[in-house]
């Protein structure tokens, strides 16, 4: 199926759930609400015409321009995106789901934005979600074991956030 057909299939089932779509991109995508994620994902996985068995990757993207001179040109408001790349071996097609979140839950710095976990649908999501949590700071509700996966257990902060501050010292070892 082409991307247009996939988007049409989602639209017929979840009409208002789609907030925006892009078929021109190299990886065509739709943007949905975090609340609709589980239903849409289940449909994408189980529908016989779609059959997305594989969740290739989950990425967290931080949209924030720190330089005040470049804010006007940046072309986006500060927000956070979680991107799901799906793939089907049966039908040999791919698709991308995007979620748009606030950078912090309730705009309170330090409160991680929440997304429902898709571990129940794709087992591969478990480590992907742990990585996104570790580096980008997104809390996946319903994840069975949401711990840091790459960094040390007692690490503070999420390093791939644009406003992350480097540690000056870690366990007595100079940081910079």
């Amino acid at each position: 199926m082409t991307a247009t057909e996939i988007i049409a299939a989602i639209e017929t089932h979840f009409g208002p759930a789609i907030k925006s779509k892009n078929t021109e991109a190299i990886d065509p995508y739709v943007v949905i609400e975090p609340g609709d994620l589980l239903e849409v994902s289940r449909f994408l996985r189980d529908d016989p015409a779609l059959k997305f068995e594989i969740l290739s990757v989950i990425s967290g993207v931080d949209y924030l321009e720190l330089d005040p001179k470049k804010v006007a040109k940046a072309g986006f408001e500060p927000h956070f995106e979680v991107v799901y790349h799906l793939q089907s071996f049966t039908h040999r097609h791919r698709f991308v789901l995007k979620l748009i979140l606030p950078r912090w839950k309730g705009d309170k710095a330090g409160e991680l934005p929440e997304v429902p976990s898709v571990t129940g649908l794709w087992a591969s999501a478990e480590w992907h979600e742990r990585e996104v949590y570790d580096l980008s700071g997104v809390w996946f509700t319903g994840h069975p074991d949401l711990r840091r996966i790459l960094l040390a257990e007692d690490w503070i902060g999420h390093p791939l956030r644009k406003d992350y501050e480097f540690p000056l010292e870690y366990h007595g070892i100079r940081g910079r």
Partner: protein
């Protein structure tokens, strides 16, 4: 052995116990298998047949720190690994030596500025004897580093003089040690003093207009 040498028959060798032990030790440095990143590939190449570290007695890579006396830290050390590096170092029997192989272990390398999780030089964790720069260093460079370690062993006076082998760990703090006039108990006042000092220096260093 100075004046004693050559005074006996051909089949008799004279040496001191210290020299004999040092000779034995430097000719059989046993490194620990300790590859952390891409430098490990070069270390493996050094151990393999083309460059053959075994020619210098250091080919027996041990899989345990307890049988090794040389630690070749080959590759990027990150904070999570640092405690393990330190523990492995502590588990090695004395006398022990450390080669910091590659730019990352020498001082952070390409991760110096934007590597949030990279230790800026393994000498902040364990005392380093020989630094082998390069990204990664060629096998010849590592062999050179090994020979510098052998020189160091050759000059050891462990038996005759009570020379401490252990260096204070770590041998450098990594922090800038300020002159006493720029120090202050209050960090804000200290920062102001340092800023004033920097400005003063900059003004003095500025070229005068002709």
């Amino acid at each position: 052995m100075g004046w004693l040498e050559g005074r006996f028959e051909e089949s008799v060798i004279t040496t001191s116990l210290e020299q004999a032990i040092n000779w034995a030790r430097e000719s059989s440095m046993w490194p620990m298998t300790f590859g952390l990143a891409c430098c490990a590939i070069e270390m493996m190449a050094t151990g393999a047949s083309r460059f053959d570290m075994d020619r210098f007695g250091a080919g027996a890579f041990r899989a345990t720190p307890r049988q090794a006396d040389l630690m070749i830290v080959a590759g990027t050390v990150n904070y999570k690994m640092a405690s393990r590096v330190r523990r492995l170092y502590n588990q090695m029997p004395d006398p022990k030596f450390v080669i910091a192989m590659g730019a990352c272990t020498c001082g952070g390398g390409p991760y110096y500025k934007y590597g949030y999780n990279v230790v800026k030089g393994v000498d902040l964790v364990v005392p380093v004897d020989v630094y082998v720069p390069g990204c990664p260093p060629r096998p010849e460079t590592l062999l050179e580093g090994l020979m510098r370690i052998q020189d160091k062993v050759h000059g050891m006076k462990y038996l005759t003089k009570n020379q401490p082998i252990n260096m204070p760990i770590p041998s450098r703090t990594g922090y800038v040690i300020l002159p006493p006039e720029l120090e202050d108990a209050d960090p804000h006042r200290a920062a102001e003093k340092q800023l004033a000092f920097q400005k003063d220096k900059k003004e003095k260093a500025a070229p005068t207009k002709a």
